[in-house]
């Protein structure tokens, strides 16, 4: 039973079934404001389903989901609107701002923040995979929502871009603090980003372990402490 209603995100005894198949079994997770939680688990264990429950895209069969603030999501497939420019894509979350000058300044700030100055008028199809993900980051940072969900956001990038953008994400979250919940199958990614790692079992999925990563940023994936955490996570997943 979760008693802390001050938590930013609460999943309490949540179960979910697809037809007759039980996918999620009695999951309880609580995320505090500003915390960066990464959920890892074997492929097909229902990580995305879990995130879909958090966003309200799916409803649980039983249990309670409570998200106390507005949310932005970065999806695995990339969700930039191809008919909008970089600046327009970043601006969709700010489109209700009345003061156009301030809105444009905010958009420009975000674009500068993700190092895409000069690409404001480019369309997504004119950018590399890494650049597109930077635009996505700028877009989720825009506006007043203070929770970010990420579903394997960097899985389509090559190794170097992935390393780069993880650092970028940490840097951006330091500048604009938000609560982060990310699901990934990439253990390196989890240990580099997370304050806390939640490990799921395979189906029917439940939380099998969670651990705090108390290593200061910037983290390098060759640091012995991180390697140790990664080994520990791996061990838990493979059990």
């Amino acid at each position: 039973m979760v008693n802390n209603d001050h938590a930013h995100i609460i999943l309490e005894n949540v179960s979910f079934t697809y037809g007759n198949m039980k996918v999620l079994d009695n999951i309880t997770i609580e995320v505090r404001r500003g915390e960066r939680v990464v959920i890892v688990g074997p492929s097909g264990c229902g990580k995305t389903t879990l995130l879909n429950l958090l966003t309200g895209y799916l409803q649980p069969a039983s249990g309670r989901v409570k998200v106390t603030s507005s949310v932005r999501t970065v999806f695995q497939q990339g969700g930039l609107f191809p008919w909008l420019t970089v600046a327009e894509n970043v601006g969709i979350g700010l489109r209700h701002m009345k003061d156009i000058v301030r809105r444009d300044a905010e958009i420009q700030d975000l674009i500068n923040l993700v190092n895409l100055k000069g690409f404001e008028k480019y369309y997504p199809h004119e950018l590399s995979g890494g650049m597109k993900q930077r635009v996505e980051l700028a877009r989720v940072l825009a506006g007043t929502s203070d929770i970010i969900f990420m579903d394997e956001p960097f899985s389509s990038l090559d190794y170097l871009s992935r390393m780069e953008i993880r650092k970028e994400l940490i840097r951006l979250l330091d500048k604009r603090p938000k609560t982060l919940v990310m699901v990934t199958h990439d253990i390196d990614e989890a240990v580099q980003i997370a304050d806390r790692i939640i490990i799921l079992t395979s189906r029917p999925t439940s939380v099998c372990h969670e651990m705090y990563v108390k290593v200061a940023h910037p983290r390098h994936n060759t640091q012995p402490e991180l390697l140790e955490v990664a080994a520990h996570v791996m061990e838990k997943i493979l059990v």
Partner: protein, 252 residues
């Protein structure tokens, strides 16, 4: 090496030369196979009486009205059916049935219902384009990646904003291609539609030339139809070069 800008004009020149050679060989009698020169003469004739111009305007008008009214109905219906699975399941077989009927099969009805003048031709253009356009809008909407709607939902897009800022832009490239194809269809159908029940128009012009055994005039009308059709297609093609549409067409 020939510059690529010259390739198409050279191909046209080649066709003209072949045409001239065949007519000089007299395989067919002059009245059944007019030479390029006689066609040029009949062009002059038609232009001097302003009949050709009048026919062009009449046909363009009918096609425009028929095509626009069909687009005005087909696009909203397609958008609606594309997002409503049950209605779509119910209506799709009917749309497919009518789509496979040649619009020319409707000619007797068109004449009985609308008599003569613009209306039967406009009605036939409407029928020729409405079904394929609706079906292609349905398929365009149904294949919009779900991710766009999820992003839209994340950013509180609703109602008309969702329609005009997400759904329509997402189908725009496919919609333009379909409209381009359907406009082509209507330009083909107008000729047949005007052969009955009309007193002017490019189709009537050809029919009238045939009745007077003036195939040179018929060819002159055919060239006009082909040229205008190509020109309008070029116009549609220009839209596809718009910056916010290029994403939908890949490399051109």
């Amino acid at each position: 090496m020939i510059h690529k800008n010259w390739l198409a004009p050279l191909a046209i020149l080649f066709i003209l030369v072949c045409w001239q050679v065949i007519s000089l060989l007299k395989i067919f009698p002059e009245y059944a196979f007019p030479s390029p020169l006689s066609v040029v003469k009949s062009f002059q004739e038609e232009l001097s009486t302003a009949r050709l111009l009048n026919d062009i305007v009449a046909s363009l008008w009918r096609v425009a009205i028929g095509f626009l009214s069909s687009a005005c109905l087909a696009i909203p219906i397609g958008l609606w059916l594309g997002r409503n699975r049950n209605w779509n399941t119910a209506i799709l077989p009917i749309l497919n049935f009518f789509r496979s009927l040649s619009p020319l099969a409707w000619i007797p009805f068109a004449i009985l219902w609308f008599h003569i003048g613009d209306k039967p031709a406009i009605f036939l253009i409407f029928l020729a384009t409405f079904f394929p356009l609706t079906l292609s809008v349905i398929s365009a909407v149904a294949t919009i990646p779900d991710i766009y709607f999820r992003v839209a939902r994340d950013h509180d897009y609703n109602g008309t904003e969702l329609l005009f800022k997400v759904t329509l832009p997402a189908i725009m490239p496919q919609l333009l291609t379909s409209m381009r194809i359907c406009y082509g269809i209507s330009w083909v159908v107008i000729v047949a539609a005007e052969m009955v029940g009309c007193q002017d128009g490019l189709g009537y012009g050809i029919w009238d030339a045939r009745n007077g055994l003036r195939l040179d005039t018929a060819v002159c009308y055919m060239i006009t139809i082909g040229t205008i059709g190509t020109g309008i297609d070029k116009l549609f093609q220009r839209f596809t070069k718009a910056d916010n549409l290029k994403w939908g067409y890949g490399k051109q």
